[in-house]
Amino acid sequence: MNGPSSIDVTVRLYRSLRLIRRVEEVVAEIYPSDKIKSPVHLSIGQEAVAVGVCDTLRADDVVSGTYRSHAAYIAKGGDLKAMFAELYGKATGCAGGKAGSMHLIDMGHNILGSSAVVGTTVPIALGYAYAIRRRGEDRVVVAYFGDGATEEGVFHESLNFAALKQLPVLFVCENNQFAIHQPLEKRWATDRLCERVETYGISAKKFADSNVESIRTHTQGAIAEMRAGGGPAFMECVTYRWREHVGPGEDYDAGYRDRTEYEAWSDKDEVARLGAALGENRRADIDAEIEQQIAEAVEFAESSPFPAIEELHTHVFAG
């Protein structure tokens, strides 16, 4: 395959990782001003899962996510201005200010809406995948969800159905090891998630450290099989959420987890690692572009109008 050179890939991965990291840091900086009218669930620390998978997707492939979806939205190419405007509750937001951070959507980039009710988007991804297969297309759907979502009944129903119908769905579990403040040990009888999934006849792979390149390489293979008519695949990407469950701050003094865990993860931060691999000049150029892009998106959100009052009543029913 005449793919891009590895340095091009690294540039692309870094740009995406860094963009997500900085967007969320900026969100956290703005947050105390109350200009953002929405609870925010930041993915800082988890970027590699979004980027490693989405880098392999075509524009016409589809992703679905959760309330913690800034990363997947950006990695899939979602409109950044529309995202900031949405967080600000502005008319120019990706959902006209009706969705906020938890329901990001950009159908133009095949980003299916995200949802604040844990697990709900997983079967919807399957339905989309059913339509793809019915139409004989070779597109795929990526369904992102957290470790907590794997405890919901609908997750198991979805695995079974996807395998039964051999749907082109890549299940990606972002295992950040906590559901709000509850660690896995209080929720899972065993940590053998991939084994559980495999019993449905779905190939499953665990990534213990969410190395972006390993995730990317594996995803490429899994998706190539799906495009050729194969069924679903599953990935468990162990990662770590650096900030509090919801909100802009850190919460290592809350007592449910230890700062040393964070330090271990930040030592292997993928954003820093790829940035260093690029060399100072190239990295600085990319960083500057990203700052510019974010500044423009924030400015767009700030200067956009709020929706007209009549918007309350639009789109209750489709015509």
Binding site: G113, T120, P123, I124, Y128, Y130, A131, R134, V154, F161
Partner: protein
């Protein structure tokens, strides 16, 4: 919309459903039907029978017992531009779909500011008698009527069943399609060609001046029987079929009630927070005329299986007529239809669309 008078073709409710379904599937390749047992030899009492032979297993398929995920599958397929019809042989099983229906299906169009539409139909059958009991008999439409973004229809006859199903499949919103099992073998004049019945338009089934009686789903048939009993007493009841509950044609009902001064709403469900409560409140809010209003529905209990108790659980032509009589003639002596006459009322055949 074709008129029932143009045909002399009599078709049962169940065959009308099947015919409407098949016609839409022929017209639109994106229409598919799925749900537990839709492709077996019984075919949901016959309402999906044979579809798999004509349209294949990709478009007509049974599912795992996973109502929650399957509702999500319908939503996802609908967002992708298909038109799924998800069938439940009992409405009670919809309780496992509530998360997807209430949190996703109803809200996606709004929450995503029109970027997606969710054109899906959920067919749900209400059971009755033969000891259906606590969990196979519930009319739970009011739970869904409460949620903005969901449409709810409850056709009471074969003509409306076919026309409403066609309308529901072509509608760009999630539509809850309420069927009653006892209606399945009732028949009506049904045109062979495809036609639609508009949502949000009530049917005045019988005209009358003394009282307005609204019957939902199968209760419409019971109300018609009551109307016959009342007419023998010289009471003329106007009987209205709302056909669709969301959107609801409250104007037609209000106009009638304002004219007769009396409104009795009989639902195939409990009255508490139910469709009957909504209809009465909607009428009261729209008129300053004094209107006497009463409601009837399931007894405020769980549905028992033994016939002697089950009979008491449901409104029937006798209790409906008795209630209406007491409303129209509050000072007259208590009146109950002659039990022999009431039995005859049950033999009366009504051919919709009423």
């Amino acid at each position: 919309m074709s008129s029932p008078a143009e045909t002399d073709r009599v078709v049962t409710y169940v065959d009308a459903l099947l015919e409407g379904m098949a016609q839409e599937m022929r017209l639109d390749d994106d229409v598919f039907v799925f749900g537990l047992d839709v492709d077996d030899h019984k075919g949901i009492q016959g309402s999906t029978l044979g579809l798999v032979d004509e349209f294949g297993a990709d478009r007509v398929f049974t599912t795992p017992l996973s109502e929650d995920a399957m509702t999500g599958v319908a939503i996802g397929a609908a967002i992708a531009g298909m038109r799924p019809v998800h069938v439940h042989i009992r409405m009670d099983f919809l309780m496992l779909c509530m998360n997807q229906l209430v949190n996703m299906a109803s809200k996606s169009h709004y929450m995503y500011d029109g970027q997606v539409t969710v054109p899906m139909v959920v067919r749900a059958m209400i059971g009755k008698s033969w000891g259906q009991g606590a969990q196979h008999s519930q009319g739970l439409h009011s739970l869904l009527m409460h949620i903005p973004g969901l449409k709810v229809v409850a056709p009471s006859n074969a003509y409306d069943a076919k026309g409403c199903l066609t309308t529901a499949i072509r509608d760009n919103n999630p539509v809850i399609f309420v069927e009653h099992r006892l209606l399945y073998y009732t028949d009506a004049y049904v045109p062979e060609e495809s036609y639609t019945v508009p949502f949000g338009r009530a049917r005045t089934v019988r005209e009358g001046g003394d009282i307005t009686i609204v019957g939902v789903s199968n209760m419409l048939v019971e109300c018609l029987r009551a109307q016959e009993l009342l007419s023998e007493e010289g009471i003329s009841a106007e009987v209205i079929d709302p056909v669709s509950l969301v959107p609801l044609d409250i104007e037609t009902i209000t106009a009638s009630a304002a004219r007769t001064g009396r409104l009795l709403v009989v639902d195939n469900a409990w009255t508490n927070c139910g469709a009957s409560a909504e209809i009465v409140a909607g009428v009261m809010e729209r008129t300053d005329r004094p209107i006497m209003a009463r409601r009837m529905g399931y007894a405020p209990t769980t549905c028992p299986t033994t016939p002697v108790l089950e009979d008491e659980f449901y409104p029937n032509p006798v209790t409906i007529a008795e209630k209406a009589h007491a409303m129209v003639r509050p000072h007259a002596a208590d009146w109950r239809p002659d039990p022999e006459r009431a039995k005859l009322a049950y033999q009366a055949q009504f051919r919709g669309p009423f």
